[in-house]
């Protein structure tokens, strides 16, 4: 039955199901449970058919193109699903499937408060938008679906419009994405200026006769445009406020998948369409990658809101992906095709991994928040005793994101390391030092990410509950645990069978424009994954097996040796004082030492407020509190001055409308004279 239905049919079936889901949930908006079931149910069906389409293209290579031309001459709704878009469709459908399953029961706590029909509607439109974005092959059509995706995600971010800062986050997000789209529009227009058509294939063919200056301009504009959507460092300020504001299964999708559409376009545009890349392009993206990953993880360390922490980690992982993409572009400009293929495989593999474990972490955080109704890590503690399964899945997620061996994070970070090591071996001293910086950045990022997730997991799940709300929490419902369980299982499977998965991704990369004949970069006979130049070899399944076997052996030997000994449950050693929950480590305490080490970069500030019993006698204080903050340098040094500049310029321009009638007639008279003098001859 599998090869009965063609990819085209299943792809458009997915879109059709999403459309039905969207309209259906609006119709059933009155009854909450029906709207929820309808919206998420159809999203599940659609993502299943999306998975089928992606798998068929990835494995059986049946990519398809389909063109409908429209009333306007430049606009033609042309779809082209090649292996690269199929890979992203696979990610989108996989995470959408699990997010919808998770959403089925997570959304229950919205029942009386918000209109679930609207949520279902925009959720399906959002998924359809993403599927369109990765398959659109005409610039004009791409811009339309790109904005529709942002529009739908804007409505999802402001879905819980009772809280005020959700609205602020939503409008900041919408403004940033719209400015990004303006830059993307400029990039496509510049392409249209020299090539005369907006269709990606036509652009691909005659990219040759584009002047260097306009190519650089296209690069800069699209870097800004797609960088805003991907959330790279200078343009990331919307991400930590927008992703947490959305309902959890949507923020899992946004963090896991939506920012990857920016990466998709980076690869599609820079690697495939503008194939003759400049050297400084790759170096710039590499530097952005270093900064995004390092600063992302440092800001994550300072966060105490669990969803903001995960959002900053998305920035960090985007940085790691950009390391892969940047090194690919450097190798392309130096015409080292094999190394470029390897770094692209690393970037794509990390995109897949990040999508899985970030969605898993967001779902874990979501179920914790839905039980404790607060996002502040300081108010958790000891949740592992009340929500054991969620804790276990969150632990697997943390292990995966800190790139620890048996899980998938390890292999993609290992592969990114290998590409950077290749880069270090290039002769040019300048590029070699950039790559060494990149290797150092990646190493420190790995370490700091591990520290950050020990803090997050420890402060949330371990030790004793720090407030009484935690005592009433109970395990999240079955579909939420099912979603998390499947995702945890996929992280493990991707980790173990990394060799097989990277062969598929190599197939994807070979399908790209300039990479047809590149093969033999690495050989993976199922078990091991060995670079063809024999530089490095790793076998992820062996690591898992050996660890398991030896663990089993050690456990049994110790058990046999000491089975007579009794295990007594006592209370933690408390030096005699009564041990209350306030004495255990909190998230602030944990991260404070790292913040002090990196205080040059983070600029932490500490404000004391002391309130005395009576003003003049300064001995007996009524209350004393301390406020620890991290300065948001981007807001202070770039976005706020820009905003003030526009405000002052607009008040200057508003003086035209000064209310005096004589002045108005004078304007007409002046413009008449000016035109007569300049234009008339």
């Amino acid at each position: 039955m599998f090869n009965l239905i063609s990819t085209q049919f299943s792809f458009f079936l997915a879109l059709l199901l999403l459309a039905i889901g969207a309209i259906g949930s609006l119709i059933f908006a009155k009854k909450d449970w029906l709207a929820n079931l309808w919206g998420n149910g159809l999203a599940i069906l659609a993502s299943v058919s999306g998975l089928v389409a992606a798998v068929k293209v990835l494995f059986f290579g049946e990519s398809f193109t389909y063109v409908i031309n429209s009333t306007l001459p430049n606009l033609s709704f042309s779809f082209m699903v090649d292996k690269l878009s199929a890979f992203f469709i696979f990610i989108i459908s996989l995470i959408a499937l699990l997010a919808s399953i998770y959403g089925l029961s997570y959304v229950k706590h919205f029942y009386k408060k918000y209109n679930l029909g609207v949520l279902g509607f925009f959720y399906n439109i959002f998924l359809a938008g993403m599927l369109f974005v990765v398959s659109a092959h005409n610039g004009f059509f791409f811009l339309i679906v790109w904005e529709v995706m942002s529009l739908a995600s804007y409505f999802l971010v402001i879905f819980e419009n009772k809280e005020k800062n959700n609205i602020k986050a939503g409008s900041l997000y919408f403004i940033m994405t719209h400015v990004g789209t303006a830059f993307i529009m400029l990039a496509f227009l510049l392409l249209y200026k020299t090539i005369g058509s907006l269709d990606f294939n036509v652009i691909k063919e005659n990219i040759g006769h584009m002047s260097l200056l306009s190519k650089n301009l296209v690069f800069i504009f699209s870097l800004i445009g797609f960088g805003i959507k991907a959330g790279i460092i200078p343009f990331h300020i919307w991400l930590p406020s927008a992703h947490p504001a959305a309902p959890t299964h949507v923020s899992a999708l946004m963090s896991g998948v939506m920012i990857k559409t920016g990466i998709y376009m980076f690869i599609r545009l820079f690697v495939e369409i503008l194939s003759g890349t400049e050297l400084w392009w790759g170096v710039l993206i590499l530097i952005i990658g270093i900064f995004s990953s390092l600063l992302g993880v440092l800001y994550a360390l300072t966060e105490h809101d669990i969803k903001r922490l995960l959002a900053f980690h998305s920035i960090e992982n985007i940085g790691i992906i950009l390391l892969g993409v940047g090194s690919a572009m450097i190798f392309l400009s130096l015409n080292l095709k094999t190394m470029a293929t390897l770094s692209l495989v690393a970037a794509l593999f990390h995109t897949l991994n990040h999508a899985t474990f970030k969605a898993l972490l967001f779902m874990g955080a979501g179920s914790v928040i839905s039980q404790t109704h607060t996002r502040n890590i300081e108010e958790y503690g000891g949740l592992i005793k009340f929500m054991p399964q969620t804790a276990f899945y969150f632990l697997i997620g943390s292990l995966a994101i800190s790139a620890l061996p048996p899980f998938n994070g390890f292999f993609s970070e290992w592969l990114t390391f290998q590409t950077i090591f290749n880069g270090i071996q290039i002769s040019d001293i300048f590029i070699k030092s950039i790559f060494i910086l990149a290797a150092g950045g990646l190493a420190f990022t790995g370490g700091l990410a591990a520290a950050c997730f020990v803090k997050a997991f420890g402060a949330t799940f371990l030790a004793r509950p720090r407030n009484e709300k935690v005592l009433q929490t109970k395990e999240s419902s079955f579909s939420m645990r099912f979603g998390m369980g499947v995702l945890a299982f996929t992280t493990l499977i991707l980790g173990i069978f990394a060799g097989v998965v990277s062969k598929i991704i190599l197939g994807v990369v070979n399908n790209l424009n300039g990479f047809q004949q590149i093969s033999g970069i690495f050989s993976g006979q199922g078990k091991t994954f060995e670079l063809s130049n024999g530089f490095a070899i790793v076998s992820t399944p062996m690591i898992f097996l050996i660890l398991l076997v030896v663990l089993f052996l050690v456990y049994w030997i110790v058990k046999i040796l000491t089975n007579k000994r009794k295990v007594k449950i006592g209370c933690t050693w408390d030096c005699g004082t009564k041990l209350e929950p306030r004495m255990e480590i909190t998230a602030t305490g944990f991260a404070r030492s790292i913040i002090m080490i990196f205080k040059g970069v983070l600029k932490p500030s500490k404000k004391f407020e002391v309130e005395y019993q009576d003003a003049d006698m300064r001995y007996f204080t009524k209350s004393r509190n301390i406020k620890l903050e991290i300065a948001d340098i981007y807001q202070v040094y770039f976005y706020q001055p820009l905003y003030n500049l526009v405000i002052s310029f607009s008040s200057y321009v508003k003086r035209i409308q000064n209310g005096i009638l004589n002045a108005y007639v004078a304007y007409i008279f002046l413009i008449l004279l000016i035109l007569l003098l300049t234009f008339s001859f």
Partner: protein, 219 residues
């Protein structure tokens, strides 16, 4: 001494130009309206002379109609409605003092006679009448910019209309008589509406000085 018809017309055109200039300088509203009446008279003479030249009865009827509207109805509205019962003898002063206004008027006439407008010379032989008419147009627009009173703004618009009609007459771009009737009828309605609005301004703002009306601006 027998002045030929052309010389008379040129003399009348100079007189019209002077009325436009004096509109800037005069202070009393009533004398402003007197100047407007004089200007309309001159324009009516022009129309009358062109009517005789091409001897069309319709054009004479147009001249009479113009006479009724511009010389009788308009001043009646302005005098009785506005000035008599609200004692607005003195209209508020101009933005620029007298010498500066004259300087600007001189500059505008200089501009008209400069080479920018020499392309208009192809239209007709006696060019100086044409340029004087164009100068009166620019000066009446400047009148609107310069004077602050509501009444003077109304008179400014009407003198601009007169100047355009005279320009049409001199450049030979005479519009067909029934069009002119339409225009005059339109002008009549315009005068009625403007005077009603002026009375409403007077009720609401208490004064006819237009500088009071500046609270519609971007705060």
């Amino acid at each position: 001494m027998i002045l030929t018809l052309l010389q008379i017309i040129f003399f009348l055109e100079v007189l019209m130009f002077l009325t436009a200039v004096f509109m800037h300088l005069v202070h009393k509203n009533s004398s402003l309206i007197l100047l407007y009446q004089l200007q309309s008279l001159i324009v009516i003479i022009f129309v009358f002379s062109s009517a005789i030249k091409i001897s069309s009865i319709l054009l004479i009827f147009v001249a009479i109609l113009m006479f009724i509207v511009k010389v009788i109805i308009a001043p009646y509205f302005f005098n009785n409605k506005l000035i008599k019962n609200n004692q607005f003898k003195f209209s508020s002063s101009t933005y620029l003092n007298a010498p500066l206004t004259l300087l600007v008027i001189a500059a505008l006439t200089g501009l008209v006679y400069s080479h920018y407008f020499k392309s208009l010379t192809i239209l007709v032989k006696d060019v100086d009448n044409l340029f004087l008419a164009l100068a009166t147009i620019l000066i009446s627009i400047f009148l609107l910019i310069n004077r602050k009173g509501v009444l003077s703004q109304m008179v400014g618009i009407l003198s601009l209309e007169n100047a355009i009609v005279s320009f049409a007459f001199f450049s030979g771009l005479e519009v067909t008589p029934n069009m002119q009737i339409g225009i005059i009828f339109d002008l009549l309605i315009w005068i009625i509406i403007v005077s009603i609005l002026a009375t409403m301004i007077n009720e609401k703002f208490g004064t006819l000085d237009s500088t009071v009306m500046n609270n519609l601006r971007e705060e």
